[in-house]
């Protein structure tokens, strides 16, 4: 359970002039786009040429709720939608840079306020209907319609105002922004272009939410992704077939995807995923924990396990710094007095044994972290952040400076107490479904015991945990993890800004509660309107330093992205951004096709 893409509050943004440049100049080895004929402007993908045919089976932890991007909120739905839909501009999961997708090219005006996007010619939905600028304009109209309540809406509010979308001609669309947008055309990533011919009528009748369910007939739903719906068996699987109108080809001009069919098997949990993969029922596996990874690595029969390196997940401990005022319970008040002291938080941070977390929780397949930018993010991390090793002496000094002292308890153990003589005792919430985080909490519990703090670990179902942290605010401390959906800082904007919903230690503030939060707000907002990467980076580095000084979040560790695939799967190149293994599903192929009827 993690918070993913929870950051849907309005983005205030700026010009993306630089990113654009990088997209084209930064990777000279990548060939973009090659025109085959005037009629059909397929995108030619570089890389190994595969063979067509076959079926790939992957497992999914539970059933997706919908195939409709307008209502999809769960990660499983998004994973399935990812292979059925396409966006104008796409972030390449391997290079972490933006690339043309349905858009052949785009142009940003000099003031950074207007994007002109030119669509490829000859694009067709998976039901054979042609796509033109009207579909794009229609799509953004529904995304922005308040009555539809699309999760994408918040992303499309830039500078406090919704983006204005207009059609120039059948191939050209213009997007007008109220303010320049820092991450630039990355804005368009993940925004599926929807079929107007299927959705217009339901939209007018106000029943957009009822279509695109799993039970929808295959001919009633269409997308621009590599696969389209074929069959759904409730509780068992979702069978997708190749989209014959897909708009990408390989170097030899073969139309992608290579696979004929893609099957999502529904399984209840991570262990079931491992068992299915081990028994050969599924072809690829991702989101593996380190322990299951080592189980699978031990006997690699016909498959290969890969450690794709550090990802974008960051795990952290935070204390309840909400100001509940009069409403806060008597029990909470003295505790919050400790939590508000920077020295107290610094002491906790100094006492946490991050190396032990990496070793015992991730079996060395992860890294200790001291800041929000996970090690998988190569461009935005602040190299200068101090990576101070564990030191109980330093922790004790911090506590002494903050007025804490030690007394000998009844059991002969030393107990930490505050200046009023009250023993330091609090509880840490963790998600009960996440074994890794429960383990981290147990280690921290033991670390803090050595400082004389008495800590209880409370495993809680994820939804009620989130409810406590963001709604009722009845908790002492909480251990959580977030996966950034993109390497750009804007993907974590709601963690940074004091008004953000995932500014977890004190969410959705009307005004920044502390001067340093105000300063972070200023830096992050300024970063969005800076003109160059260097300027943005400088501002972002400073924000990271302030966060590290004040320790509202005590960063712990980040796991590697652990995946596996059968040896028969070709073009398997796992990425550290989601979706880890299916990001290039159109290029995946089976090296040896099984005889007909055996699968």
């Amino acid at each position: 359970m993690r918070i993913r893409r929870a950051n849907f509050v309005s983005y205030r943004m700026l010009s993306s002039f630089f990113l654009l440049l990088v997209a084209f100049l930064g990777h000279p080895a990548t060939v973009w786009p090659q025109q085959k004929s005037v009629k059909d402007e397929s995108l030619v993908l570089p890389g190994e040429v595969g063979r067509s045919g076959g079926r790939l089976v992957v497992s999914l932890r539970g059933e997706p709720k919908t195939l409709n991007p307008l209502i999809a909120a769960d990660s499983r739905s998004r994973e399935v939608i990812g292979v059925m839909q396409a966006d104008l501009v796409h972030i390449n999961r391997a290079t972490q840079l933006s690339e043309p997708a349905l858009a052949k090219s785009w142009k940003l005006s000099a003031d950074g306020l207007e994007y002109t996007i030119v669509l490829r010619k000859g694009l067709k939905f998976s039901d054979g209907q042609a796509l033109d600028a009207d579909d794009v304009v229609f799509t953004f109209r529904i995304y922005l319609d308040e009555n539809v309540h699309a999760p994408q809406r918040d992303l499309l509010i830039v500078g406090g105002k919704p983006i204005v979308v207009g059609k120039v001609d059948a191939q050209t669309v213009v997007f007008q922004l109220a303010k320049p947008y820092g991450a630039g055309e990355r804005l368009f990533d993940g925004l599926a272009i929807l079929p107007r011919h299927l959705l217009e009528k339901p939209y007018q009748e106000g029943r957009l939410g009822q279509i695109g369910t799993l039970a929808t007939a295959a001919n009633q739903w269409a997308g621009l992704g590599p696969f389209r719906m074929k069959e759904y068996v409730a509780g068992q699987r979702l069978l997708l077939e190749r989209n014959p109108y897909y708009w990408k080809t390989d170097m030899r001009g073969n139309r992608l995807p290579y696979l004929d069919e893609l099957v999502f098997l529904f399984v209840p949990n991570a262990d079931a995923q491992v068992l299915k993969f081990q028994s050969g029922e599924t072809d690829v596996i991702s989101q593996l924990g380190a322990e299951n990874f080592s189980v699978l690595s031990r006997q690699q029969k016909g498959y290969t396990m890969t450690d794709a390196g550090p990802g974008l997940e960051y795990n952290f401990l935070f204390f309840n710094l909400n100001d509940a005022g009069e409403k806060s319970s008597l029990e909470m008040r003295p505790k919050q007095k400790w939590f508000r002291q920077v020295k107290f938080r610094q002491a906790v941070s100094a006492a946490v044994d991050r190396e032990a977390i990496v070793r015992l929780v991730y079996q060395e397949r992860g890294s200790a972290i001291w800041g929000l930018v996970a090690p998988g993010n190569h461009r935005w991390g602040n190299e200068k952040l101090a990576h101070s090793p564990r030191s109980l002496d330093r922790a004790r000094t911090f506590l002494k400076e903050a007025g804490f002292s030690w007394s000998n308890g009844p059991a002969g153990e030393s107990t930490l107490q505050d200046s009023y003589g009250q023993p330091v005792e609090f509880s840490i919430l963790t998600s009960s479904s996440n074994a890794d985080r429960a383990k981290m909490a147990a280690l921290i519990q033991d670390d803090l015991k050595q400082l004389g703090m008495r800590v209880q670990v409370v495993p809680l179902e994820f939804r009620s945990l989130l409810d406590r942290v963001t709604q009722t605010k009845e908790y002492d401390a909480c251990l959580m993890g977030i996966v950034s959906f993109d390497a750009d800082p804007n993907s974590d904007i709601n963690v940074w800004l004091s008004s953000g919903g995932t500014h977890l230690w004190n969410p959705s503030q009307a005004h920044p509660a502390t001067p340093w939060e105000a300063e972070i707000d200023r830096l992050i907002e300024e970063q969005m309107s800076a003109r160059t990467f260097e300027q943005r980076k400088k501002l972002y580095d400073r924000a990271q330093e302030i966060l590290a000084e004040n320790q509202p979040m005590i960063f712990l560790a980040s796991p590697d992205i652990l995946v596996g695939s059968k040896n028969s799967v070709g073009n398997f190149h796992p990425a550290v951004l989601e979706p880890y293994v299916l990001w290039n599903v159109e290029q995946l192929y089976l090296k040896s096709l099984p005889a007909i009827g055996t699968r």
Binding site: V274, E291, S294, D353, K439, L443, D446, V457
Partner: protein, 351 residues
Amino acid sequence: MRSRRTFTKWLVVLGALHTIVVCAGFFAPYDPIEQDRKNPYLPPMQLHLMDLQGHVHLRPFAYVLKLREGTFDQYEQDTSQPVVVKFFKSGAGYRLLGFLPSRKHLFGSEETRICLLGTDAYGRDQFSRLLYGGQISLLAGILGAGCTLFIGLFVGSVAGYFGGWRDDVLMRVAELFLALPWLYLLFALRAFLSLSVSPLKAFFLIVVVIGGVGWARPARLVRGVVLSAKERDFVRAARGFGATDGYLLRRHILPETSSVLLTQAAILVPQYVLAEMTLSFLGLGIPEPVPSWGNLLSNLQQYSVLVSYWWMYLPALAMVPFFLGYLGLASSLQERGEAYKIERRGPGSLT
């Protein structure tokens, strides 16, 4: 006579097992919550009496287990470093029987930790955790059973002795309790209670919860015994001489229920230990890091642990003799009860 002998046999077995658990501080070499982060998932250490050259030693010794280079949980024996096991060694402090401070442990070693049942994910000694965990689980079982039998005896004797509407009401309530899916009730009860509870509070909660749920069956049994006992000639005679209800119950009727109660106790204790284990297994029992048998077994919920670390199953095996002991005791008690009845009634009434 045979039943008396088996009864004594089981009593001795259980007595020995319980002594070990009660004196866990002495028999366990280490503090059960002390983490050894350098040695996670250490396999059980074997104790040897004969070295590689074939020489026999009087003191048992073990070989140090060393982490294989580049691995996380693969250990190999370092046969160049035999470690002699020392008996009555000083170590971590504990309180014997809860009040006698001591530092003596049955065995230990200077050079390395001797982990007879291996270690868990945090490098905690499984053997020590098993013994300390037994204290919690068995105590929960025994107290829970006591609680149940007390309620059962009270309700059963009131219903059986006084009869009438009291009997009707109490027995309908008992039937209601019998019909309840008690496992789910336990979940609901535990989930309803406060989130973060200290281990001590959690322990008493569990005792009250499991003890308060299972009283219906013993109550019905007691009621049956009381019903038949109150019609006995000697009871009628005593009543004729003017004995009060309280006196009759105390002097003549309740003693009749003793064999039923003892048998029930021997059946209930393992059942309640299992209930505690179920709750802890599902994370609703005693919170980590305090060991209990359920907590020990909950490690097995993870597939990777199931297939990689076989010694994590050992605590389950170690519990078998306890349950066997209790069930053996229950059946010998039952036999004794039967024999006792036959003696009392005489062969004539046996038809």
